[in-house]
């Protein structure tokens, strides 16, 4: 079969192909990561004051002026004396080789420091995400869409959890369950029991957000014709909710899980500090207060990379779950 196609038409048809779509998504993701890397480089450059002086002060813990010989040595070591374009080129090529620069204070590669600490943080974030979904789905399944006192109470609780500061909820849990009731250890370390309170604290805020969105969708779906039809067939109310309504109401949840990444990371930093847990939170706070910018900008780059990866997974999942979706 021969068809006469202009290049434009061919491109339009090709754009519907999964592989082309996938390639375009990866490309735009790489652009975002590159832009984040540039941002990370810029924040290291705009640091007010002389960077060599800051490094010397941070290392020695003294505040004072170093001799020009000392400054020159540091400048030469970190390459600050070179033109910005060359520094930028080195930074980007370093990233391609997995090198995010060196911490001003610890004098160790930033990539290594983050790699050591990111595990517990990701673990906390993932368990909290799952737990938040369990809370949101169970409460919605049983309560949402009914016109009674429980539905109103649930709605208010969700707004409360979504608004209240995560570190405050975490502190309340800590005081009630660890200090007063002594059910959990005050400082849990990395044991599974110690993970429970931080997970709940992080999950409560998210469950409020998830619950609100799922509940809205749930009440909307409850009015659809296929729900009436299922009821007419004699299906029980709970069966209708579980088999028909929840499935549709859960769709926006996929997007929401991706969006939750930022909230999870922000919350995890605060909650790790509340519970004195090992993780990125403590490292980032220490780095921020000692103005150890390479660690902070390294974290920026990593979180942007995670964001791109998660968005890609979300889009792929959507494509599998709901093939009608128009992906352009």
């Amino acid at each position: 079969m021969t068809l006469i196609l202009t290049t434009n038409d061919a491109m339009k048809i090709a754009a519907h192909h999964s592989i082309v779509w996938f390639a375009r998504r990866i490309l735009s993701g790489l652009v975002v990561v590159w832009a984040a890397a540039t941002f990370a480089f810029v924040i290291q450059c705009v640091l007010p004051g002389d960077r060599a002086q800051i490094i010397i002060n941070v290392t020695s813990g003294n505040v004072g002026l170093a001799s020009s010989a000392e400054l020159a040595a540091i400048n030469a070591k970190y390459g600050f004396d070179q033109p910005l374009a060359i520094q930028y080129g080195k930074y980007i090529s370093g990233i391609l080789h997995g090198d995010l620069g060196e911490s001003y204070q610890q004098h160790r590669p930033v990539a290594g420091i983050i790699a050591e600490q990111i595990g517990p943080t990701i673990g906390l974030a993932v368990t909290a995400l799952l737990f938040a979904w369990i809370i949101a789905i169970l409460t919605t399944l049983f309560i949402a869409g009914r016109d009674n006192i429980w539905a109103k109470l649930l709605n208010d609780t969700q707004v409360f959890f979504a608004t209240a500061p995560p570190y405050w909820l975490a502190t309340i849990l800590l005081v009630v369950f660890a200090v007063k009731l002594r059910i959990f250890p005050v400082i849990g370390g990395s044991s599974p029991v110690g993970l429970i309170l931080p997970t709940v604290a992080l999950a409560l805020e998210l469950s409020g957000f998830f619950g609100q969105v799922v509940q809205n969708e749930f009440t909307r779906v409850l009015e659809q014709p296929f729900v009436t039809s299922a009821r007419a067939r004699g299906m029980s109310e709970f069966g209708v909710r579980l088999r028909h309504v929840l499935r549709h109401a859960a769709l926006p949840g996929i997007t929401l899980s991706g969006w939750a990444l930022g909230k999870l990371l922000s919350g995890a930093i605060l909650i790790e500090v509340v519970f004195a847990r090992q993780g990125l939170g403590g490292v980032l706070v220490a780095a921020t207060s000692s103005r150890d910018v390479p660690i902070v900008s390294g974290a920026v780059l990593i979180s942007a990379g995670l964001f791109v990866l998660v968005s890609l997974i979300v889009d792929l999942t959507y494509r599998v779950v709901d093939p009608r979706i128009n992906l352009t």
Partner: protein, 287 residues
């Protein structure tokens, strides 16, 4: 020219006033809470029972009682009076940060939506990249570059929350651009600048009233979070975040030092959220 400006300003204001005239009980309760906080911010002396700076070591770390409503801190200072004292600074930080983030967001959002084409995609990409970085991390970047201080805290929270608003405003502008009345104005041959001034901006900015109400509460939460981490206002001040940071070391012996300032933050933010959501519902024409 001045007539247009007047029409732009007065319409949303009239709508807001019309909404305020009849509201349900919970919104009224929230308005009273906000009023109390505003009073504490403007005239702390009226509400205080003790001198917020008076040190009394004999009555240090006392739990809440009739004399000290919120208990005392490690130096015996009355926590209730300190929370009242801190309201002014906390509210100022929240308002300042919201004003900053809204200004950034409006510039980016409006510029992106109006320019379209390459300029829109570049601006949207910049916002996308910043959006990919968690709010708190973006705030930490600002603090690590400029060092902790009150001004940094405002800038950090302002920049941290701006990308989300910028996206919302751009979306809002684009939605209004597509509406029938804008099309009609185009067909009537009105110049683009006038369509933007008279139709697009007023209608796209309408939801901002509600967004900003909620935003001030959120800004205070982020700011107090930064201070809680020891990266905001330094502890001698009675700002809520500073109180939270100071109380962190005593949380095991004196829960009130941590829970009560946090309750102030939560009550303030929650009241603003409920009022903001009510405004949102009304502006969208629900009920």
């Amino acid at each position: 020219m001045s007539m247009f400006a007047e029409a732009t300003v007065s319409r949303p204001l009239k709508e807001v006033l019309a909404i305020v005239r009849h509201f349900p009980f919970r919104v009224a309760a929230c308005l009273i809470i906000i009023g109390l906080f505003a009073l504490a911010a403007l005239a702390p002396k009226v509400l205080q029972t003790h001198d917020p700076l008076a040190i009394d070591l004999r009555s240090s770390l006392q739990s809440p009682s009739f004399d000290h409503w919120f208990g005392t801190d490690q130096l015996g200072r009355d926590l209730y009076s300190r929370v009242v004292e801190g309201a002014g600074q906390s509210l100022a930080i929240g308002l300042g940060a919201t004003a900053l983030s809204m200004s950034i967001a409006i510039v980016f959002g409006v510029a992106a939506a109006l320019s379209g084409g390459v300029c829109d995609s570049v601006l949207s990409r910049i916002v996308d990249v910043l959006f990919a970085i968690p709010t708190l991390l973006l705030a930490l970047v600002v603090v690590s570059v400029f060092g902790p201080s009150v001004l940094t805290e405002v800038i950090a929270v302002g920049i941290g929350t701006a990308p989300g608003y910028a996206r919302m405003i751009r979306g809002q502008m684009l939605a209004v651009k597509e509406t029938g009345y804008v099309e009609a104005a185009k067909v009537l041959g009105h110049p683009f600048s006038r369509i933007v001034r008279r139709h697009i901006l007023p209608n796209a900015m309408n939801p901002l009233t509600a967004m900003m109400t909620i935003g001030v509460g959120q800004a205070i939460i982020w700011a107090s979070g930064l201070a809680f981490l020891g990266l905001g206002v330094a502890p001698p001040a009675a700002e809520w975040g500073a109180l939270l940071n100071a109380g962190r070391n005593y949380v095991i012996y004196a829960w009130w030092l941590e829970i009560i300032p946090g309750l102030a933050v939560t009550a303030f933010a929650l009241s603003l959220t409920i009022i903001g959501r009510h405004l949102q519902d009304r502006l969208e024409g629900k009920k």
